[in-house]
Symmetry: C5
Subunit: 321 residues, 5 copies
């Protein structure tokens, strides 16, 4: 199931269902849209031959973890985008879509990406005036679709981070929470790199003169660029927020331990009183006059109680208890 | 109440009260100022049709949390600004004003912003020579009004931060204070992003050649740019100040805990003396000569007192007590 | 006493003592130098009218805390510089000098700045060949004078920071010192912003083509730029140094507390020996053979002493005591 | 064994096995590929003379730790690349390859690099159409080979870092682990500098107009640039990860010490109860009524047990035990 | 001894030993090399007059701590470089060399720099073909000499830092070491600023079109630039390494204190057992059945021993002892 679709469009309408079977290339006003998933080297080679793709671009399209990029090869444009999807355990799984754009064709090569373009294709086929604009508008629709795909992930991550924040101001994070924050930061740092590259790539499409992209299409890429920039900014906000969680947690713990230290010191001082006094009257000297007093015991108990009460009151006053 | 106003001006004076009812567009020396609040998609579509607005700009104008930007669409200019207002609990609530600027018209679209432009409009209508300059001067007035709106918020935040600072040098912040600082930093980081985008947007208006903006208007945008830059600089100063508060608080607490540790150690040493000595004379050996001495008890009491006094004096001298 | 001076110069010599009374403007080879202190709006308005000053520049000149800037308005140049002076309690007090430079005139507007230009004026009037170069050389002299004014402040601050450093390596800073460092950092961060803006402003004068500034004057502004850059670099060095003080203080305190913890642990272990042993021989069992031994007491004392000595020796050897 | 190879190629096929013995230089369509390892100064001087190499480039080629660079000398190009290889104890050992590229020749000078180019040469000689492109394609093949050589090192380092991370979330790192992380960071910081310079150098080849490099070769250098950028990004990711390990370890330890402090405080409080009460009834007053009670001892034991149980239950409830 | 040398060279050979005595200036193919040390203002004034030096450059040449810079004054070039030399106590002492370069002359002005140019001059005079290139090659030789002079300092500092690192992984740094690191960082931060300015200055010479520098000399300045860049990179590496030392020391101390805390807690728990039990059997109740048991004492001793052994075994198992 490598070749998902291979249609030829004229003026935005499907002309051929199997463009690869056509003998002649697309004529003006026509273009082929070839969609591949995890293709083999030979299939790519035959396509490269048919459409004149650059071997370096073909190699990149088949490299599984290639960072996003946009590059011109002669009159053709080559783009790599990365899709992201929620995996279990907060993790994200990445996929890759490579796109070849030339005069009269667009070829998409998906690797490891769970989001098919089928819906997108149907959606575009309903709007022939959009498709009639040519393959650069298809490129825009694809990138818009991919960049939009980051939003639900960020929504989930922001909800997670907010829950973390709420918990952190209440108690020092459990070891499990610290580990989770730690994992989240790794995930977000990776996402920051990938989203940063996406922003860079879309920005290149929006700002530079590139082959196979019409001036009319430029504002559309600027619109995706806005979105990609916002994605990066959200990821950075999340990293900031998690850093904040750890910092506030550490400070609140410092404050709590300070309070406990003071409390401990106060109780240790209070309890040292009966220990020291009782120790003294527990000595076995033959001549210790107090021991023979009728009320010695009660006096000592009273003194101990009074000193302890006094200390308690003073510690409470300075806020240690 | 979507359409707040739709006047047509000629030479700075109101020509029509309902410009949308006019059959012909504004002539040279005239322009329409249409003010909308939370418009529906159909209303925007009819305006887009009437004034030739770009669909991507219309879409952005209706997107509630779009970051500030300035972008040219052909001969038109599209600007998004964000307003900020004090909410309860230190929080800020943001609103959005999108502005379409073209030959002979300016359209403003407010979403979620509590600050109406009515006063501004009246104020400008009193200065016909200003209005006569055309819609770019209206854009300037709007942005000046919006950027000025950040000042009272920053004044309040600066007063809050100063109070925090004053408290922090006196005592380790209460957990509630730490949480508040934590919340303030989140708020300020978000404000930093938004104000940074505002600065970028106004800077673009002040420095680049853009459609629909006269060279005569450029210095006016530079003036707003000065202000926007200063806003960003104040926000960063606030973030710095709050970081400082936490750092100084942590250091002062470290200093306080060091003092308590030393005090504790000193008292523990002093109190260990009677405990150890009394423990020894509390042993039940049959032959312990000191126990039979006539003044053994008083000698021991004296020795204990002397050692404790000596220790107390030494600890005081090295500053532990 | 708003208008301090209003002279007209020709070829570097005073031509008129009250240039504002003159009917005709300065001719080629002549220029007016008007000096104002805290002027009112009307005075400024009349000057603006006479010399064709831009209303935005006039407004900025009257705004008390405007950040430094250099901006061209048509054929005129507008500059704002900030002066700094030592206040009590390490604080700095800022003043502001706004300068309008045009064909045949220079106007200076001081707000809140305690450093008068009178001396500078006299100094320049002694060097007619300098004054004969025109108002751009006056601008240079003013900025040179203002930037030079930062040096004594930085000298004082550097002496303060050095004293702090010397104290910090000896003992953990007192709370009062921490607070002072904290205050100094706030002061320096603000100074960094202001000096950074001064550098940016002078750099603009030194590097860009600006109206009213001769190519011959450019090297002179580059000279001031060198100085402004060095000022910023000194401020950053001071911030670094204070950060260092806190870091080293914190580390040295950590080291001291570690030593105390080890000492405490060692003494606690040593003192636990007599307490535990004496406790055992203080039990009241009827049959405890050691209690009846002739030398039991002295043996126990000896054992206690030996164990304590052994522990003491071991702790000393591992450096805890 | 200084000169490893000195072949002359025509149209991608070996023409001469000892190009240095040839009287005439390479003609159009021909080029010499001279491979040297640790050459002496005289050998380099004779080559410099034969091919017109710049003395500064020759000096750099013989400088053992020269950072990567690409520089034009007239119509020739000079490149230095660094190879890295796994050493024992996590350490990396670096080697250096200097490359002179001119009209009709490429000279490689290896210093301290264990990776020979022999395989690469054989590989290229099998693809005559590649060699026929000229010496710039040989340069590309060399750089591609060198940059690819960083990958296995990074794979190893990433596995090491991951194992560190897994250990760190379980227990505070042993001193040996901390030292290893510390060593790894030093190694990675150095690698970051070297890889950054490699990226800069390849980027220069990919983006600027340089002598001796054909426009046709540009995309090939961009491909290596992609790879070099990714290398830098991986190194930074590793540094981030190790920083994270230390931070999370420190926080988890803070959390563990907090727990131990609370536990200690709780047990100290519980054990203070029998000590204080027993101390009181160990006093030797003649008149202490409880001592004569029939069940006094058991009552006291019961009271002690009850208070301890109550304290235990309360501490457990607040999570200290 | 202000004027060290004042020779005139023709085609790389000494023509006159006292160029200042010559009536006519240097002709094409000739140049004067004037070397001054700590000159007075009048000497400089007479030289400025003779060679047409710009007054601002002269002023900078006499300013003792001027940061490195390169600046064009008309057809002349003015350069300031800083030399560094090892002082005692890790400190560095800086000197300054100002260089005026014009058509037919080079003037060097040394302030506080202990490294004379005499050797360099003799060295160059042996290579007449080098001197024959003109004064720009003398400038190159001077800067090469000065930048090379940073290497031995960095070698020393790197050895110091390495020794610090080795000590830090073994024990928490002594207060004296912390102070030394602290001092080193101050020294290195200052060196970073100075070396950064040197790099900037040499980079300007290597990259921009400047007066009095031939295109032929450009590669030579690029070579010095390589070196200056590497110097900055080494200084930054040193700062990084020292930061690392403090961080690892702090973490290892945290680990050590954690271990001591656990050990203390364990011993406190073990020793609380005899204290508590002995305290109970030290009470003076008349009726305590265990006291009358024949083997009560030994049973209690056994119980105490057993509990202590059990605790010891458990603490050992969880790694606290
Ligand atoms: Mg990447
Ligand atoms: Mg989108
Ligand atoms: Mg990626
Ligand atoms: Mg959209
Ligand atoms: Mg955005
Ligand atoms: Mg949009
Ligand atoms: Mg304003
Ligand atoms: Mg945010
Ligand atoms: Mg926003
Ligand atoms: Mg204003
Ligand atoms: Mg500003
Ligand atoms: Mg203003
Ligand atoms: Mg300011
Ligand atoms: Mg000056
Ligand atoms: Mg200021
Ligand atoms: Mg000066
Ligand atoms: Mg400077
Ligand atoms: Mg070199
Ligand atoms: Mg390097
Ligand atoms: Mg490769
Ligand atoms: Mg290296
Ligand atoms: Mg780079
Ligand atoms: Mg590739
Ligand atoms: Mg490849
Ligand atoms: Mg100067
Ligand atoms: Mg400096
Ligand atoms: Mg050198
Ligand atoms: Mg210096
Ligand atoms: Mg530089
Ligand atoms: Mg060299
Ligand atoms: Mg810390």
């Amino acid at each position: 199931m490598t070749i998902i679709a291979a249609r030829r469009y004229r003026d935005g309408h499907v002309l051929l269902d199997d463009a690869l079977a056509a003998a002649s290339p697309a004529r003006p006003g026509e273009f082929d849209w070839i969609g591949l998933v995890e293709p083999g080297i030979e299939e790519m080679a035959s396509l490269a031959d048919r459409y004149g793709l650059h071997p370096l671009a073909v190699e990149d399209a088949l490299t599984p973890r290639h960072p996003p990029k946009a590059e011109a090869y002669g009159s053709q444009l080559f783009v790599i985008a990365r899709t992201a999807a929620q995996d279990k355990n907060d993790a994200l799984s990445y996929g890759q879509t490579a796109i070849f754009l030339g005069d009269g064709f667009i070829i998409t090569v998906r690797l490891g990406s769970p989001r098919a373009h089928t819906d997108l294709r149907s959606q575009l086929e309903i709007l022939p005036e959009r498709l009639a604009e040519g393959p650069d508008f298809v490129l825009h629709a694809l990138l818009d679709f991919i960049v939009d795909g980051y939003d639900p992930l960020l929504d989930t991550l922001e909800r997670t981070a907010e829950a973390m924040e709420d918990r952190a101001v209440e108690a020092f994070p459990q070891a499990a929470d610290i580990r989770r924050i730690f994992r989240l930061r790794r995930i977000l740092r990776r996402l920051e790199v990938t989203a940063g590259r996406m922003e860079e790539m879309v920005g290149k499409l929006a700002q530079s003169e590139l082959p196979a992209i019409d001036a009319r299409a430029r504002p559309y890429f600027r619109d995706v660029y806005d979105h990609a920039r916002r994605t990066v900014s959200r990821v950075r906000g999340l990293l900031d927020a998690l850093g904040n969680v750890l910092e506030v947690a550490s400070l609140l713990e410092q404050s709590r331990q300070g309070a406990i230290t003071r409390q401990l010191a106060a109780w240790a001082a209070i309890l040292a009183v009966p220990t020291a006094i009782a120790g003294i009257y527990g000595m076995n000297f033959e001549f210790m006059p107090e021991l023979t007093w009728r009320h010695g015991y009660f006096i000592v108990l009273g003194v101990i109680g009074a000193i302890c009460a006094l200390l308690f009151w003073r510690f409470r006053r300075i806020g240690w208890l």
